[in-house]
């Protein structure tokens, strides 16, 4: 586990190919980023069911809504900075309000987009999407769970947002892994502290847990891939067991997964916690690894937060 890396975008393309073969109602709509998103592989196999609308993200979302209205399972997406970034009204009014079968799968979430800089680094999308009624939000932790999640949501009616990462990331799960939408995955169990992560912070949380172990701290690691609807049951369970919680996400700490966990704990079982994430700031250009370090999105940051919580009692 985690010795190799894979791209979530490639996994998305593979999932689309399988879905296209098994369900003739699956259509794919893109906006000039289909090569990058790997949704383009669907076009070579099923050209009649693939539609490129050009650089027009609002139109992308609304056309996908129209296709869902006429009975299709519409997969649409581009870079996260544009969807949801440029198309929130269309997502809210065309997809979520009528509860349509549109699956928005978008790549380039977070600051690990890298050299393109802050204009392309979406750190607000989880907050935006989880505030929209009926919208379901998934932030997969690796390529294996990305493929499983994309295949799973094709069979669940209603609107989804799936946030992917630009770069290749460590593979957390083996291919036999069974994905369960809405159910957080307990990857590692320990009684001292719970590390709750999503997206690329899942492997970082695992690294942090390993390092903490050498210091005598045994951590639970929870992959909270489904940010909405949130798995309150599992979150409360690990909070009761561990008594301390650290959340980690490649997103603004305001409104994201950490906020969602804080809501659950605040109402259900108030627990000392710390949030690791982007501290309400914009990113900048740089190599992904350097930026993640600079903005505190690493195993070391998670470990530091955990150690702080361990000492505070």
């Amino acid at each position: 586990m985690m010795s190799k890396t894979a791209a979530m975008r490639d996994a998305y393309g593979e999932a689309l190919l399988e879905l296209g073969a098994s369900n003739r109602d699956v259509v794919v709509v893109g906006a000039d980023t289909t090569g990058s998103l790997k949704s383009g592989v669907f076009a070579t196999k099923f050209p009649e069911r693939f539609f490129n609308v050009g650089i027009a993200e609002q139109n992308l979302v609304s056309i996908a809504a129209g296709m869902a209205l006429a009975g299709k399972v519409a997969f649409a997406g581009t870079y996260a900075i544009f969807v949801p970034g440029k198309s929130v009204d269309q997502i809210r009014n065309n997809i979520a309000y009528p509860n349509l079968n549109v699956k928005l799968v978008c790549s380039h979430g977070g600051i690990s987009v890298g050299p393109d800089g802050a204009s392309h680094q979406q750190v607000e999308d989880i907050a935006i999407m989880r505030a929209i009624p009926k919208m379901k939000v998934i932030v997969p932790g690796d390529a294996v769970s990305t493929k499983a999640a994309v295949k799973a949501i094709a069979t669940i009616p209603g609107p989804f947002y799936v946030r992917l990462t630009r770069s290749s990331t460590p593979v957390v799960y083996d291919s036999g892994f069974e994905y369960q939408f809405g159910k957080a995955t307990v990857i590692r169990e320990g009684p001292d502290i719970a590390l709750v992560a999503c997206g690329i912070m899942v492997p970082e949380a695992l690294k942090a847990a390993e390092s903490l172990k050498s210091k005598g701290v045994s951590a639970t690691v929870l992959d909270l891939h489904t940010v909405k609807p949130i798995d309150s049951e599992t979150i409360l369970k690990v909070a009761r067991q561990c008594g301390r919680v650290v959340t980690a996400e490649e997103h603004n700490v305001l409104g994201g997964m950490g906020s969602a966990v804080a809501e659950v704990l605040g109402e259900g079982h108030p627990t000392p916690m710390k949030r690791v994430g982007v501290m309400d700031t914009f990113g900048e250009s740089g190599e992904a690894g350097e930026l993640l370090k600079k903005y505190g999105l690493t195993a070391a940051s998670i470990e530091q937060a955990a150690s702080g919580l361990m000492q505070s009692r």
């Binding site: 259509v27 539609f51 050009g54 027009a56 809504a65 296709m67 299709k72 009204d89 065309n94 309000y97």
Partner: protein, 273 residues
């Protein structure tokens, strides 16, 4: 029924539609009369002459689709749907009330409504989506969308216009209610649209201009749209905001101000004249 007889029938429907719009708005105490009254003849023609639809089976797979992109004209669409038999006309008096089905702008759950509307500039994209599916699955239905003229200021309209001509959606007809007025004033002062027909031609659409109150022109326009191949059609209908009520005509104020209950009987009697 020959054409002349049919036009007499459609005129009667236009009159009853205007009455229902004004009664519903007066009862609601808020809403948008101007852009509802301007497009009455267009929707009467669509629902009672052009479209294939079944009020007893609103989800019929091969029904023609209608999208009201100018969602604030909900009282118009509701009045049409009620008279077509989608729901009782009495229900129109519940418009905009808490717990009622008839929301201030179209929403799901109302028989005959295809999609929510209210945020301008979006309906054409939805119709592009349904038209693409009809082409993909070789199904016979057509998609229609009514847009406002002020709405042409939204960029998404032109994104959709490009897409519809790229995909050669000859099963799609857009209608523009060209009444020249938007909430803040005249379209040509707020953000000029002219030359509007030339813009749509430049986007490779088949453009037809009609008098929005001349039933035979409107019918011919829809016939021509249906018989046009490889290109979508836009019908630019020249209309009058607030049509039929003298103090509402050409008035930006009555874009979004309902008639009072006290004034209603005067207003209705003007229609009978």
């Amino acid at each position: 029924m020959d054409t002349a007889q049919e036009i007499v029938h459609l005129k009667e429907l236009a009159l009853s539609t205007r009455k229902l719009i004004l009664e519903a708005l007066a009862e609601a105490g808020s809403g948008h009369p101007g852009g509802s009254l301007s497009a009455v003849e267009l929707l009467v023609t669509l629902y009672f002459h052009v479209m294939h639809h079944d009020p007893k089976n609103p989800r019929w797979e091969d029904r023609d689709r209608f999208f009201l992109s100018k969602g604030h004209a909900a009282p118009l669409l509701y009045s049409i749907l009620a008279q077509a038999g989608y729901f009782p006309t009495e229900e129109l008096m519940s418009l905009r009330k808490t717990g009622a089905r008839l929301q201030g702008h179209p929403s799901m759950g109302i028989p005959g409504i295809e999609a929510p509307a209210g945020s301008e500039g979006i309906g054409l994209s939805l119709a592009v989506g349904t038209s693409l599916v009809a082409k993909l699955d070789n199904r016979p239905f057509r998609s229609y969308v009514l847009m406002g003229d002020g709405e042409q200021q939204e960029g998404q309209v032109w994104e959709a216009a490009m897409a519809a001509s790229k995909f050669r959606l000859d099963n799609l007809t857009a209608i523009i209610d060209r009444n020249g007025i938007q909430q803040d004033g005249l379209t040509e002062q707020i953000m000029p649209l002219e030359p509007l027909a030339a813009k749509w031609r430049a986007f490779n659409w088949n453009v037809i201009e009609v008098d929005g109150y001349d039933f035979s022109q409107i019918m011919d326009g829809f016939d021509l749209a249906t018989s046009t191949r490889n290109r979508p059609t836009v019908i630019i209908a020249h209309t009058v905001k607030g049509k039929g009520i003298s103090f509402m005509e050409w008035s930006p104020h009555y874009h979004g101000t309902a008639p009072t209950k006290e004034k209603l009987s005067d207003v209705l009697s003007e229609l009978e004249r």
